[in-house]
Symmetry: C2
Subunit: 162 residues, 2 copies
């Protein structure tokens, strides 16, 4: 079993309107029409070929403001604690974030995106096409989030996860 640490280098960074956690949307679906620019490092630009054919992409990133982690935490959408892996909170053992964003256009190494729910300057680890045939599953249980689907669109973050 591989017990070595796993090391990544950002492929780029994202520019967003959110310079601090106060009042930031907590999911892309609460950030409709919030635009951001993902700036890919020049050495990776060739990897963007044909990405512009997709209307939505997964952006995988490092929660660079998360210091340390909690195994039990009270997420924005609840008043009870849950295990960190049952939440999307940033203070995770490996602080990796995933957002599904709308891809508006690509100009050289700059992706114009919508539904952005990330802090300005967030380092980007990977980009993948979002494909309903791969990514849509019907669920029959959604745990502590049952019946809270609507809250997510209006909920805003605070400083609890710094």
């Amino acid at each position: 079993m591989n017990e070595h640490p796993i090391t990544y280098q950002p492929i780029g960074f994202i520019e967003t309107p959110f310079n601090n956690l106060h009042d930031m949307p907590i999911q892309p679906c609460g950030a409709s029409h919030v635009k951001g620019k993902l700036i890919v490092k020049p050495e990776f630009v060739a990897g963007l070929m044909d990405l512009d054919g997709f209307s939505h992409i997964y952006v995988i990133y490092h929660f660079h403001h998360a210091r340390d982690y909690d195994l039990l935490l009270t997420p924005f959408m609840d008043s009870n604690p849950h295990g960190v892996f049952a939440t999307r909170a940033p203070k995770r053992p490996n602080p990796i974030g995933i957002s599904i964003l709308r891809l508006l256009s690509i100009d050289e190494n700059i992706l114009l995106l919508e539904n952005v729910d990330m802090l300005n300057g967030t380092p980007i680890l990977d980009i993948k096409p979002y494909i309903p045939a791969f990514d849509h599953y019907e669920v029959n249980r959604e745990g502590w989030l049952t019946g809270r689907d609507d809250d997510i669109k209006t909920m805003r973050s605070d400083e609890r996860f710094v």
Copy 2:
């Protein structure tokens, strides 16, 4: 801008029936009923609290067999090259994989999962609940994958991305 490398430690490993890439499904939707066991390191078990309420989870992992990367590559589902970020291929600048898996049960630190499309021994970086209100988007463009939704279920991998 943070230019330091980003270092993660696996939170666990997955046991699957696939000891080599030959004939492995290339997406979870092509691996229905393939079972695997995700073994979480004991020190992270508290983070699993309430995860059993969710029928589906995101598993984020390191493609540990991917050596180096290609910015342009010909994916399993096409005969033309595309930029790596327009594909789900493993040989990526940061070889991070995402699979949406069905969570059958949790027994202490062992998650029994279905739809497993990963190599045996794959190091796991993170687990998040899959939540349709966050994760279902209607797309209007799916690029080079347009009209190939059905192929994905029968397609199997080969050694090209080692």
